[in-house]
Amino acid sequence: MSRAALSNSATQKLWRFHGGLHLPDQKSLSCEQSIEQAILPKRLVLPLQQHIGAAAKPIVKIGDHVCKGQMIAQPDGYVSAALHAPSSGTVAAIAELPIPHPSGLKATCIVIDTDGEDRWIERQTHGNWASINPSELRNIIRDAGIVGLGGAGFPSFIKLNPGARTEVDTLILNAAECEPYITCDDRLIRERVTEVIAGARIMRHALHARRTVIGIEDNKPEAYAALQAALARLKHVPIEVVQVPTLYPTGGEKQLIKILTSKEVPSQGLPIDINIVCHNVATAAAVHRAVELGEPLISRIVTVTGHGVHTPRNLETLIGTPITDLLEQCGGTTKDLSRLLLGGPMMGVTLSDHNLPITKTGNCVLALTPNEFGPQGSVRNCIRCGECARVCPVSLLPQQMYWHARAKDFDKVQDYHLFDCIECGCCAYVCPSNLPLVQYYRFAKTAIWSQAREKQKSELARDRHDFRIARQEREKAERAARLAKKKAALEDKSAGTDDKAKKDAIKAAMERAKVKREATKVAPKNTDNLSADQQRQIDEANARRAAAEQDGEKKS
């Protein structure tokens, strides 16, 4: 460690969060592998949702030719992010395809068949970003589709918009990279430190932050030295670099804030509530590329590692590249591969299918062998040892939450602040009974959200049902009113001269017919030349009619 580093660490007072774990970091597998370009795949699959918020809306059609960096889907609403073509080619499909999600479900994706030319769209650079106002900068960052590259994928421009009344005390750049195995941020800093610093300066400008701190764990001395050297070269750039002790999960936003500033983010709150904004270093580099080079977010660095892959590597990967292609570039998987994860071993998602695409948040492809990491053995009953509460970095009571989540008592589990759980996996890692604790919390969280949606839906149904009943009653009343009106009108008529008028009308009509008959003087000729039989029938009919008339008169 250089002297500068020592002095810096000595001047910076650090705090610590509750709990945490020292994990076997396994970073040596890939941390000496410099960043290589992943081979351009024949086909790129881009899910419309690679971020928190609403899915993007496609603005291309099947068969369209797209250039590298061209926007292919625009944000749908405020909390959403744009999507760009990672390489030039043709839009082959917009269809439901499997995405890297724990559910293994399908979602809408844009599929691009690459043409191998990798031809860029015209790029608009903003070298002089210091003269651009923050609002315009945010628009550039929004249009570049940048989301948090640390893992959560929250649209970055929103985190760069603190609101008119909020002042930002501290901008923290998160270079902790606390999960085992992952080395993409480490390599990024070592090889592209100027990009990170440039991005940090743009972010600082956009936020008007008073203080800017880069927090990095002390298991990455080379990256720390690179940052120190770069800042020394630049001089007068008010960015501090602080080494923090290696402890999982220091890279959690709230944990890093606590370590660097001693402040705690309120329960279910955001860092901006305590005037702090936290971004990942890779996001900073992406911001630099978007603003100064005009390149939207179309690629990221992915660590492909684990003992289940022959040669671990750090690959600069286009978004949408199939994971199988990356594994192939790393010499393929070994025979004893037991589990393939997207993300780190603590928080990653187990992939059922190797052919899924890399998304904006996919920092690591981890191929694990049977005895490599995490709890082994069968699930047993909780023995109430309390180890989980000791390691919880949010000071929750994981055991209590476990009991209530297991009993599906969702009110109680929320009383124990379920929604402050960051799902870091420390509790499950130390559990001697191998209980899948995080899965219980995830189950409870998603079930509670589902119930909230149901509740909303039932409120809507009640409103619509009430409205329908009100409408039916109104219609019934209207119909009754109409009927009553009609009846009244009828009674009015019949009570007066109605009967007489009718008879008069009939009489008048008969008169008119008679006059007409006489005027034409045409006698019907159908009674001429009758046979005797017909004459007899007519006579009989006449006799019957006369009898009937007499009968009728008698009766009346």
Binding site: F443, A461, H465
Partner: protein, 182 residues
């Protein structure tokens, strides 16, 4: 003695007036417990409980006449909510909890008779006489009341598609189950 009687009489009168005024001023239109029960019910208005909608069932529950497990669309969550509110024991749902479904009209077969529109308790069917009808999927509660009236059998119940955003993590297998499995 007389003053005491008078004082008490006056007091009684004053309080009587206050109570009388309060009874008028703060009149409760309906039993609040009915509203609270109604808030738990899924509002599908399907009548599978044997009542003509959710509110009549809520009223019967409030009177303590019926069981809390008669609501198949509500499933376990409703039974648990009602048990909690009414202090009764949790029971399995009568006829088993149902998977969430919504109605779907085969638009090529629909003759536009409007019978389903009249049956829908939440006005979730769009159409007019001799015009093709369609279900507003977001507002359909899956009550199945439109299925029977259709003269050409063009309404089917389909299961609701689960998207990654609405997906629920599976409930982890408990230790006993895990043992049995292995």
């Amino acid at each position: 003695m007389l003053t005491a009687i008078l004082a008490l009489a006056v007091l009684a009168l004053v309080f009587g007036l206050i109570l009388g005024y309060a009874a008028v001023r703060f009149k409760v239109e309906s039993d609040p417990i009915v509203d609270r029960i109604d808030a738990i019910l899924p509002q599908s208005q399907c009548g599978q409980c044997g009542f003509a909608g959710c509110r009549p069932y809520a009223e019967a529950l409030a009177r303590g006449e019926v069981d809390i497990n008669l609501c198949p669309p509500g499933g376990e969550a409703v039974v648990m909510g009602l048990a909690d509110l009414l202090g009764r024991d949790v029971k399995p749902v009568e006829g088993g909890a149902k998977k969430k479904m919504i109605a779907h009209i085969d638009e090529t077969t629909c003759i536009g008779c409007t019978l389903c529109i009249q049956a829908c308790p939440v006005d979730a069917i769009l159409g007019a006489a001799k015009q093709m009808h369609t279900i507003i999927a977001d507002e359909c509660t899956g009550c199945e009341l439109c299925v029977a009236p259709c003269p050409v059998n063009c309404i089917k119940m389909i299961s609701v598609k689960v998207a990654p955003a609405t997906w629920i993590w599976p409930y982890p297998p408990t230790s006993q189950q895990a043992k049995e499995d292995s």
